[in-house]
Symmetry: C2
Subunit: 223 residues, 2 copies
Amino acid sequence: MDDRVAKGAAAKANAGETRRVRDAETTRGEIIAAARAEFAAKGFSGARVDDIAARTRTTKPAIYYHFHSKEELYTAVLETAYAGMREVEQNLNLDGLPAAEAMRRLVEVSFDYHADHPDWVRLVSIENTHEARHLAGSASIGERNAAVIGVLRGLLERGVREEVFRSGIDPMDLHLMISSLCFHRVSNRHTWGAIFGRDLQAPEHVGAQRVMIVEAVLRYLRA
Amino acid sequence: MDDRVAKGAAAKANAGETRRVRDAETTRGEIIAAARAEFAAKGFSGARVDDIAARTRTTKPAIYYHFHSKEELYTAVLETAYAGMREVEQNLNLDGLPAAEAMRRLVEVSFDYHADHPDWVRLVSIENTHEARHLAGSASIGERNAAVIGVLRGLLERGVREEVFRSGIDPMDLHLMISSLCFHRVSNRHTWGAIFGRDLQAPEHVGAQRVMIVEAVLRYLRA
DNA sequence: GTCTATAAATGGATAGAC
DNA sequence: GTCTATCCATTTATAGAC
């Protein structure tokens, strides 16, 4: 993934490391990673392009060269972030399992993804405080991400055929329920900690909540 | 609520309205209301003190006179916002009802409060992206807000005695579950709209989700 | 494609009159 | 307590050399 770092770097390998000529794709990737951390940490307005530059081995003009504006950079960050989530959803293989088992698996994977990617959760929260302005402008993020709904619809139908789920459940409402339960405990853990004095990331609570959420979803669907 | 607007205003009622001498409490209240709208709309860094001033009938120096800094003003906004939520929770009167009915009522009130106060939801989201830094510094917001947990604990015990709820449910986990379901559909409605093309605020969906959430909680507790 | 240096604008905060 | 006017640090963005 990082194996073509310097195409023409040998040309000036001495000279006190004054100028590093590198691959455009690599530079873009490095900038996006740095920007992702910065935006997740401080929000769009709070993030400083100077600080993003400081997190990379390039400089501010390089950022503007590649991304034109702070806003375009932010949009690029959002796109790659959603791509990561999408990949996980597409790699779910639930075909062999009974419907209830498959549903449990899906909820667990969703739970774990949120728990393991607080950065992604923050970015989505931040984008919501901006009313999803940048997501709306971005090219058809919708279609590609809505695939989960199809998966859920299939599972619900299978569950009804197997007589383990009741009928009449809307797959989008169900997805909202699962997302809510997985997202909120990560997104709001700080105010939660301040008010209730409980660290939602402490291993014992993570385990308990994972069980609770799976149980809640399955009980909701049970015929 | 606004009936003591001008203590000494009569003293200069002419003169082309150049200076309005007003009650300090009133001015503070007006500034906080304006700041709340501004912070909720643009976040802490995105909010402009100039724009807050523009939303009031006072000016920027008045804001600094009363609140010393943008950050202290933001903290004051947070405190009044949480006070509103606290009031609703304390005015729940669930004493006469059977446990399951009382629980249904509590969930419905929570749902409605979130749905009717998207501003409050935004402020809490924003404060989370700041890792609850300001809430942590604020005077004992914790103790006063944790009262819901006691209410839930009482309801759970009553439900077990009435043999309608199973035992072993942690009241804090339950509160997290209810909050998640009520909060997320408001906080994340924008990315949801962008990705899935569904307006979570449309009346038909609001109703369906209200039913779903109550049902999910009661099914989770059912003995 | 990448750097140093700097322009241009914004925005938090205050001086000082009333 | 409230206003007009302004200071000054910060920050987005770019010019121009290599």
